[in-house]
């Protein structure tokens, strides 16, 4: 609320000039610094990009086909638009500065595993209008060349500064993801090694037996060509066994290696688990005489034939690992398959499934947390930093920050994305990862799992991340290097593409595997199409169904490796708040281009993002259109919450990655969202407090409800006063939906509603008691015509002195009269505010001001205690009244609001830290007459 992004973006221009020191200015730590890039146009950056919003790209340098994109997050083809992922993969893989060393070092007998530290670079591509934070990492694969597979993860954004300023945090996040992948990879690698060793030993024993048979057969056989071959084979197998044993030893010694990278702290638990899985480790590292395979299993099934079986074998092995504790060794063919014939392992296979899922979640969360433009992120962070400083009164009207306060703990603490507790149920329940500078946006109805260790970890990480403001300017060496490069490119105009790409080409010496050099003129050449197809062929789509029809699909859908990801697809309307000021690229042209690209003719039947956009010839548009012309000033653009994610397929998504179905647009928002998930009225009208973290969309909805209430009811002010002064408001009505809507709208004004809006009861259909009044400050009550109803009415009239009653059916309000001025501007019947989100922010700022006053009042010593011993309580009382009336300018009723807020602050402050107090809560009230308001 303090630095609400929407407001700052608009008001920034006005504040530019007013820099002269103000004697009344707040102290430094509470001041709101201006956006560092206040002079630059925050929208300019998104103009040239061919993608609509930032995304994360995972690419691989395949030894068979060269650089290829594997996966984008979010997994939505529209996000990338016409952006050429293949080309960009090439770009990002070409700047791999990992100090890798592969193969046999001179002088050592066995192949050595290279232990490579990750490298981080920022890369720009002005032609594509893309800038990327690129994180390279290396995974181990027994079948790969040099046992390594280079991968990289890139955060692709259109705004260079966004990446530069978030470098530290991006680096931290991606390091975590990388560590997670690598931990899983080591585990899988060790497993694979063990399997291979068993195979080898089995093969060895079979060969030995054959040799023995030959020996028995006679000396003449001993020197036959066949026998020699056998002997060679045996020797090869022995050598191979030694090599693999050494590899196993190397991989298991991984944890003892010194790490230079401060971010790459591995989770000890993962490590230990990994080691404990290396069941054969001890045996192999210690025993000198290894060839002791005893044939307890079946006899290898005699599978010595065709290449096609290899793949099957691998799959079977995969399954075998999961289901059977012990592994049945198999005979290994003497000659391995050719390099290009064999199928390379997918990323999932390379890493443990659990770890892969965890990483994807981690990256999704990262993507989510970096949504919005720099301005937005900046104000969000400012907001949080300020709120963190004002802990005492936050509970009143602020959203819960959702993190604990252990500052600076996370840096060296091993972060583990894998939830160890749920390791067993891998597929159904991927470990919830919660990470983000903005806390996970949870639906208020579904509280996060408090026992989740991963979430706790991530929370501490959060607090650490949030502080990154000051570090952001300082840049590590590789960063500066790339900055220069990329800034040069930025300066180049669009027409100078060719030279830019040419430079790139030179840099691509490492990546010059195939004829993949991009044609600078356009990305519509058949080359690309071909590349795409060929890469898609290599891609292991799980069902293996689209070998042939890859051409008419978007690249991203081809890249969907996990079918389950489909379920958690992005909300189709991207995370653009109407005030968020992300400029959406005209998607029509993107789509037109897409069509051109893949079908070389008409636009495809991809669902349109915007109904008001028309497919147009693309190339000219992309270049010529003014970015400002696309500013979303009409209401059509939907508010997207940064965490939007819809469980559209009805999949049972775990709580951790829960998107909120609530945040779906409904028709009244005027949105043109094409998703079909409907908004149940009950769901939509669920009460919501600040305690649970609120998404932007929820905010808007609540704001709209409140605005409607204020405009509809002339006595809204009295109702709001009732809530703010601590008098329980009962909303009475027959229609549940209507009552719930009213309660949801009014919940905005309940001070200190609790984390899950505990102080609000949306719908009650039984008589309430005094304890209920004490517990709930806002109650929706069913009006029924039955004996139950009459007893309810009895309780209503009995406790009428403690409550205000808003009759939703008769449109009346019975409550004490309010004649104050304080609420006049939030509850203005004839307000000019038309938008829910605007009103929400308006209310928030008013309430924030109130909370600040209450804080001041609460902690001002002389307003509560005598200054000297001569003073009696009357003097203090007089001073207090004077403060309220003259200094704060509050009337009698307005003072009551402040007194109530102050009382809440006091109680919160005095609440024992343990939270478990045996004492019942207090319930304050006063004896005043109520009057009846009618419309």
């Amino acid at each position: 609320m303090i630095g609400s992004p929407d407001v700052v973006a608009f008001t920034k221009e006005d504040e530019d000039g007013q820099t002269n020191p103000d004697p009344w200015a707040v102290p430094d730590e509470f001041s709101v610094p201006l956006h560092p890039l206040a002079d630059s146009n925050p929208w300019a950056k998104t103009s040239y990009a061919k993608f609509t919003k930032d995304f994360i790209l995972i690419s691989e340098f395949s030894e068979q086909v060269g650089p290829q994109p594997l996966l984008t997050i979010p997994d939505d083809p529209k996000v990338c638009g016409t952006f050429d992922l293949n080309y960009f993969s090439l770009r990002i893989m070409s700047v791999d500065y990992q100090a890798s060393f592969v193969g046999h070092p001179p002088g050592s007998g066995y192949p050595r595993l290279s232990f490579v530290e990750d490298s981080r670079v920022v890369l720009g591509d002005s032609k594509e209008g893309a800038f990327a934070y690129v994180h390279h990492l290396t995974l181990y694969d027994l079948e790969a060349r040099g046992f390594v597979r280079p991968f990289c993860m890139a955060y692709v954004a259109a705004d260079e500064k966004k990446i530069m300023l978030q470098f530290q945090e991006l680096s931290l996040r991606f390091s975590q993801a990388s560590e997670c992948l690598k931990a899983g990879n080591r585990r899988a690698f060790a497993k694979e090694l063990q399997r291979k060793l068993r195979d080898l030993e089995y093969t060895h024993s079979v060969l030995q037996r054959e040799e023995g048979l030959q020996r028995e057969a006679g000396p003449q056989c001993l020197y036959s060509a066949h026998a020699v071959e056998k002997a060679n084979e045996l020797a090869n197998v022995e050598k191979s066994i030694y090599e693999h044993r050494d590899l196993l030893r190397q991989i298991s010694s991984y944890q003892h290696r010194p790490r230079r990278d401060p971010h790459s702290v591995t989770c000890q638990k993962c490590m230990n688990e990994c080691l404990s899985e290396c069941e054969l480790l001890d045996k192999y590292t210690k025993l000198a005489q290894p060839f002791n395979y005893n044939e307890n299993g079946e006899k290898g099934q005699g599978r010595v034939d065709g290449e096609g079986d290899e793949e099957e074998g691998v799959e079977e092995q995969e399954e075998g690992v999961k289901r059977r504790p012990s592994y049945t060794p198999q005979l290994i063919k003497a000659k391995s398959a050719k390099c290009f014939d064999k199928r390379l392992k997918t990323l999932q296979e390379l890493c443990d499934e659990t770890f892969y899922e965890a990483t994807v979640e981690l990256l999704k969360e990262t993507e989510r947390s970096f949504r919005g433009d720099l301005c937005y992120l900046h104000t969000l962070r400012l907001d949080k930093a300020l709120r963190r400083k004002q802990k005492i009164a936050n509970f009143l009207f602020e959203e819960d920050l959702g993190d604990d306060d252990e500052d600076e703990v996370g840096t060296l603490r091993p972060f583990c994305a894998v939830n160890h507790a749920v390791d067993n149920c891998i597929l159904l329940n991927p470990p919830p990862i919660m990470l983000g500078p903005e806390p996970l946006k949870l639906d208020a109805l579904e509280p996060p799992d408090p026992l989740d260790p991963a979430s706790e970890t991530s929370h501490t990480q959060d607090s650490e991340l949030g502080l990154g403001q000051s570090h952001m300017e300082s840049s590590p060496s590789d960063q500066t290097l790339e900055t220069q490069e990329s800034s040069e490119e930025t300066k180049g105009s669009l027409s100078s593409d060719k030279s830019g790409v040419g430079q790139e080409e030179k840099q691509q010496s490492r990546a010059s595997m195939k004829s993949e050099a991009p044609d600078p003129d356009s990305d519509l050449t058949p080359d690309h199409n071909h590349d795409l197809e060929s890469s898609s062929e290599e891609m292991e789509t799980t069902a293996g169904e689209d070998e042939g029809d890859g051409g008419d699909q978007t690249p991203v859908s081809l890249l969907e490796v996990v079918p389950g990801l489909e379920a958690s697809r992005e909300d189709e309307c991207d995370g653009v708040n109407e005030l968020d000021l992300l400029v959406p690229i005209d998607t029509a042209c993107c789509m037109a281009q897409e069509g051109f690209l893949y079908e070389a003719s008409a636009p495809v039947a991809v669902p349109y993002l915007r109904q008001n956009s028309h497919p147009q010839p693309s190339q000219t548009l992309v270049v010529n259109q003014e970015p400002q012309a696309l500013l979303p000033l009409q209401d059509d653009y939907t508010v997207g919450s940064p965490s939007l994610e819809s469980p559209a397929a009805g999949l049972n998504l775990p709580v951790g990655l829960l998107g909120d179905a609530v945040s779906r647009t409904s028709a009244e928002d005027g949105s043109d969202c094409t998703t079909s998930a409907s908004t149940g009225s009950d769901r939509a009208a669920s009460p919501l407090g600040y305690g649970g973290v609120v998404t932007l969309r929820q905010r808007k909805k609540v704001g709209q409800g409140a605005l409607k209430f204020v405009r509809q009811y002339p006595f809204a002010m009295q109702a709001l006063w009732s809530l703010l002064s601590g008098r329980t408001l009962v909303v009475l009505g027959v229609d549940e939906g209507r009552v719930r809507r009213l309660v949801a709208a009014l919940a905005l004004f309940v001070p200190g509603p609790g984390k899950c809006a505990e102080r609000v009861q949306a719908w009650l259909s039984c008589p309430f008691s005094l304890t209920d009044l004490q517990r709930w400050k806002l109650i929706g009550l069913q009006r029924v015509a039955s004996p139950v109803g009459s007893s309810m009415l009895y309780s209503l009239s009995r406790y009428s002195r403690y409550i205000s009653i808003l009759d939703a059916d008769q449109k009346t309000l019975r409550c004490p009269p309010y004649r104050g001025q304080l609420l006049a501007n939030v509850a203005d019947h004839r307000t000019y505010i038309r938008r829910g989100s605007t009103y929400f922010l308006h209310v928030q700022s008013t309430l924030c001001r109130l909370a600040a006053k209450a804080f001041l009042f609460t902690f001002t010593h002389h307003l509560h205690l005598p200054v000297s011993s001569a003073e009696g309580p009357e003097v203090v009382e007089g001073r207090r009244r004077c403060f309220l009336q003259e200094q704060l300018g509050l009337g009698e009723e307005d003072s009551q609001i402040l007194l109530y807020l102050s009382q809440l602050i006091t109680q919160q402050y005095l609440k024992p830290a343990t939270g478990s107090s045996a004492a019942a809560p207090c319930f304050s009230f006063n004896y005043t007459t109520s009057v009846l308001y009618k419309i």
Binding site: L793, S800, F859, H864, Y909, C922
Partner: protein, 450 residues
């Protein structure tokens, strides 16, 4: 208001059926602006005793005794042990030279007596399998003895040794006990008051002897209280109030508390029929030495001992029977009733000759704001120059069942217990908020800043 909620068009103008005056929502003299609901009992809470300045114990039909901190509302102890409802509870203070320690004695329908330490929650002593359940308890601190009354009268030493007992031959048994001068005890049993004398012999053995039987009441005795050193009073189901001399047990005054009604021929209301016995039953008596406050049916009567007459009364003070009363000061009274409310009254001098109230005026008195104090209920009263009026100054609404009893902790607040299983701690909101402010600044100082 009920009509309004039900959907009646005239909201404020509706006349309620309520037969009792209602003060309305504006109560400037009512200082109880904060409450805490204390939960813990599972059945009707019938008894409250004050242990010390900040603790009280509650007991009820669930056999539980709970010890509460009145300042914070915390439950300090739960004394479990009785299997049936508690029939009597009292505090027992052992004083030695320096310290005094207060224990609790409870009696239950399970025919047991227990001594509890409220500090630790321990059951210090217990006596089981009594002949009958004990209905009342009386502590004689001077003799360091205590007496239990039921179908038999038993005298116990401080360490729970039975000293002597006296069998009674009555169906009802002893319902009330008071201490009289000269080691005497008055016990109310049905329509009689029995006077016992305790004799402590030289070897510190105690004997008890019935020395007198006062049988002047026409009906069952409901209340028996000490007024001062020389007087005690008893009230019966039939509305008789008798003042007795504590020394020689003579009747000093015999009042039929509804005397004015039996003579008041002018009142149309009254002539409708003789009052039902429950309407004139003396439910409770309380005194401050000069005045006796009698709860008669649903009305309240203030009786002056000196002039031996009713000085102020409110015939219908509650919707239902008054269960407990208290005199906070010479002019301030408090009463609680089966209707679930606690009311605070003030004895005020009558305003100068008021216009005669119309018959049934009471019944029409609604909750609407009354700027005038309620007029005298009958002409007869106006004629008596000394009579004053009982003015309702506030009511506490919170319980949903009959309020059985209340205990005042003066500035710390008021505890009420009720048939709805709850206790409510009523406090002065201003004072509490001041105390919280103090605590806040103290905490602030401890922490050395925010």
């Amino acid at each position: 208001m009920l009509r309004w909620i039900l959907g009646g068009r005239e909201a404020q103008g509706s006349v309620e059926k309520s037969s009792v005056l209602c003060i309305g929502e504006e109560q400037p003299k009512n200082c109880f602006t904060e409450l805490q609901v204390l939960k813990g009992h599972f059945d009707i809470v019938r008894f409250l005793v004050q242990i010390d300045d900040f603790r009280c114990a509650s007991a009820g039909d669930d056999g539980l005794v709970l010890v509460w901190n009145v300042e914070t509302g915390e439950r300090l102890q739960a004394l479990r042990g009785h299997s049936q409802q508690i029939t009597a509870i009292t505090t027992f203070t052992c004083k030695n030279e320096v310290t005094s320690h207060t224990s609790l004695i409870t009696a239950s329908s399970d025919r047991s007596l227990s001594l509890w330490d409220p500090d630790t929650g321990n059951r210090v002593q217990t006596i089981k399998d009594l002949q009958s359940s004990v209905k009342c308890l009386l502590v004689l601190e001077r003799l360091c003895l205590w007496v239990s009354g039921g179908e038999e009268l038993c005298v116990w030493s401080g360490d729970f040794q039975l000293q002597c007992h006296k069998q009674n031959h009555s169906d009802t048994g002893i319902t009330a006990l008071i201490e009289l001068p000269k080691n005497c005890i008055a016990a109310a049993m049905d329509k009689q008051i029995l006077i016992y004398r305790l004799t402590v012999s030289t070897d510190s053995s105690v004997s008890v002897a019935e020395i007198c039987c006062l049988s002047d009441h026409q009906d069952q005795i409901r209340a028996l209280i000490n007024i001062n050193d020389g007087l005690f009073a008893s009230g019966s189901h039939a509305g008789e109030l008798i003042l007795w001399d504590s020394i020689d047990w003579n009747i000093l005054a015999y009042e039929h508390i509804l005397w004015e009604e039996s003579q008041a021929g002018s009142q149309t209301e009254i002539r409708l029929g003789a009052p039902k016995p429950s309407e004139m039953s003396i439910q409770h008596l309380t005194t401050n030495g000069k005045l006796i406050l009698a709860a008669v049916g649903s009305g309240l009567y203030v009786y002056n001992v000196q002039i031996k007459s009713v000085v102020a009364y409110k015939k219908v003070a509650h919707d239902s029977n008054v269960l407990h009363t208290m005199m906070l000061s010479d002019s301030e009274l408090m009463s609680c009733s089966e209707d679930g409310s606690v009311r605070m009254w003030e004895i005020q001098d009558l305003p100068l000759p008021a216009e005669p109230a119309s018959p049934g005026f009471f019944g029409m008195w609604t909750f609407g704001r009354s700027n005038k104090p309620p007029g005298p209920p009958s002409k007869k009263v106006v004629d008596v120059p000394t009579i004053r009026t009982l003015e309702l100054t506030g009511d506490l609404i919170g319980h949903s069942g009959a309020v059985q009893m209340f205990v005042s902790f003066e500035e710390n607040g008021l505890v009420t217990c009720s048939a709805d299983h709850l206790l409510i701690l009523w406090k002065n909101g201003d004072r509490q908020s001041h105390l919280r402010s103090l605590a806040l600044f103290q905490r602030l100082e401890e922490k050395g800043g925010l």
